[in-house]
């Protein structure tokens, strides 16, 4: 009984604003409405980010630039995030990005001959509210669109593990800050809408030729993922790790898989001020 009372007291203290009112100088920027401050840079194995102004941040996914040895071409990509915060309690932001995949890379990934290139557009809107000194909620809506550029006469057609061109998804990140730098969090993502996939193909052999006019859609309309995790946002180092289960949202593309898998959410970077 005494142990229970103690645990409740600690929990109440941790959640209480009176016991913990420090500002968080370097709040998490992914899945939230926060941006990096002006002149603040972040370098990690997954992405490079920099705050141009307090309200404007740019970034790029580093691994995609390094894909030449694998798929033959680099994959240029960039994103811009613009946000506005009111103190440390409320923030809103919008983010837009693109990724371009040259036809050579598409042909490799799709295992088909094609001269079409691919462009992926990603847009998100985020809002973050600090509902208590230690607890904040970030609600976001993502839109992702993939489309071809160029000659589409010969096209890739496999849709195993299918995703679609237009995807709307929503997410909620709940953070419980145990200290200004350390937080426990839960990320919940759900699919709102996914457009059907065009799965046309032609095939031919000695006996028969087939022209298929097909579309595919996920057999599961409700697709959810839940990823509890930890995050650390220090003066120079930033680290996030979450392990959960559900559909996997492909990095950059943002498209969900049709099946559920174990999900690992990992981030790691070194941050410093340039100006």
């Amino acid at each position: 009984m005494r142990g229970s009372v103690s645990a409740l007291s600690i929990a109440a203290t941790l959640a209480s604003g009176s016991a913990f009112a420090e500002e968080r100088p370097h709040p998490r920027t992914d899945y939230t409405a926060y941006t990096r401050g002006a002149g603040r840079a972040s370098v990690g194995p997954f992405k490079l980010e920099m705050g141009l102004l307090d309200q404007v941040m740019v970034g790029t996914y580093l691994p995609l630039w390094l894909t030449s040895p694998v798929i033959g071409v680099p994959v240029p990509n960039a994103y811009l995030k613009i946000g506005q915060s009111w103190g440390d309690s409320v923030a809103i932001a919008t983010r837009a990005g693109f990724t371009f995949i040259d036809g050579e890379g598409v042909a490799y990934l799709a295992d088909q001959d094609t001269s079409a290139s691919g462009v992926i557009y990603a847009v998100e809107v985020d809002g973050t509210v600090r509902i208590a000194s230690r607890i904040s909620l970030s609600l976001g809506v993502d839109y992702n669109h993939v489309q071809a550029v160029g000659d589409t006469e010969q096209l890739a057609t496999s849709i195993e593990g299918a995703t679609t061109s237009d995807t709307w998804a929503a997410r909620l990140l709940s953070e419980w800050h145990l200290s200004p730098s350390f937080a426990i969090n839960v990320l919940v993502r759900t699919l709102i809408y996914q457009s059907p996939l065009n799965a046309d193909f032609d095939s031919d052999n000695e006996v028969a030729s087939v022209q298929a006019d097909l579309s595919g859609e996920s057999s599961r309309r409700r697709r959810l993922s839940v990823v509890p995790g930890l995050s650390y946002e220090g003066e120079h180092w930033e680290f996030t790790l979450g392990v959960g289960y559900g559909v996997v949202y492909l990095p950059v593309v943002g498209l969900p898989t049709t099946k559920s898998w174990p999900v690992v959410d990992l981030g790691f970077s070194y941050n410093f001020d340039i100006y």
């Binding site: 096209l155 028969a208 087939v210 579309s215 595919g216």
Partner: protein, 261 residues
């Protein structure tokens, strides 16, 4: 960056099918749901095969067989049609490869089957031996049983009285595959209802508007009599079976009264 590290399995080539899917989707300029052709099965014809309406006796059954010397030719031609249609299963394999439990496919498959000509020396040259084009509907990963198509001077060969004879099919083709079948399982081929409103030529005989029900047990043909009633006939090596409203008559091909076994 928060990068999910686990995810879809790799394809045999070592490439992520999810990546492939995402890119393929974009390159295919995703354009909404594909339309599924509305083709009904041949329900009314199937009922007629199940329940012929004529009522025969041993004399009228004999007269019917004697008056229809072309029956074996008709059935041979229709059996050959079934042999061509059997290729549907192989032709749908590419679509089978695209379906899985996580994806529901819909739309249509337009299959052009090239006809072999002489089956003993097949030549799948469309210009020489013609073709049959079939349109199959696909809904929820299943091929719908109703199929429409067109035969374009499709040349085959059939067997009449133990010898090969040329068969040619021309004109519309309507098929009932028996039941909708999952793409992942393929067509069993156990039951096929064929309606050929066009022309079928078997050797020296030519027919229009013939139908057949083809099963592993044999080929049945619905014969419409002068009074509008129907019987179902099938031909064996030494006899002709005639199924009327209540009985099945077995008539020797060499003559004599028909009998009910």
């Amino acid at each position: 960056m928060s990068a999910p590290k686990s995810g879809p399995r790799l394809s045999p080539e070592g490439r992520s099918p999810a990546w492939t899917a995402a890119l393929a989707c974009g390159l295919l300029a995703c354009a909404g749901e594909a339309a599924v052709p509305e083709v009904d099965g041949l329900d009314e014809l199937s009922i007629e095969y199940d329940a012929p309406s004529a009522e025969l006796d041993e004399t009228s059954a004999r007269e019917l067989v004697d008056a229809s010397p072309e029956l074996e030719s008709i059935l041979s031609g229709l059996r050959s049609t079934g042999d061509v249609v059997d290729e549907i299963d192989e032709a749908t394999e590419p679509a089978q490869a695209r379906s899985n439990e996580g994806v529901r496919l819909r739309g249509k498959l337009v299959i052009t089957l090239r006809c072999p000509g002489n089956i003993e020396e097949p030549s799948y040259d469309e210009a020489e031996n013609g073709s049959v084009t079939l349109t199959l509907g696909v809904l929820r990963n299943a091929v719908r049983r109703g199929v429409v198509g067109e035969a374009n001077a499709c040349k085959l060969s059939g067997t009449v009285a133990g010898r090969q004879v040329p068969v040619e099919i021309d004109g519309p083709v309507l098929l009932d595959l028996g039941e909708d079948f999952p793409l992942s399982e393929g067509w069993s081929g156990e039951r096929l209802l064929v309606s050929l409103p066009g022309r079928v030529t078997v050797g020296d005989f030519s027919f229009e508007g013939v139908t057949a029900r083809i099963t592993p047990d044999g080929v049945e043909h619905l014969l419409r009599l002068g009074d509008g009633s129907t019987v179902v006939v099938s031909v064996n090596s030494d006899s002709v079976s005639v199924r009327d409203r209540e009985r099945t008559w077995t008539c020797s091909r060499t003559g004599g009264p028909c009998e009910v076994p």
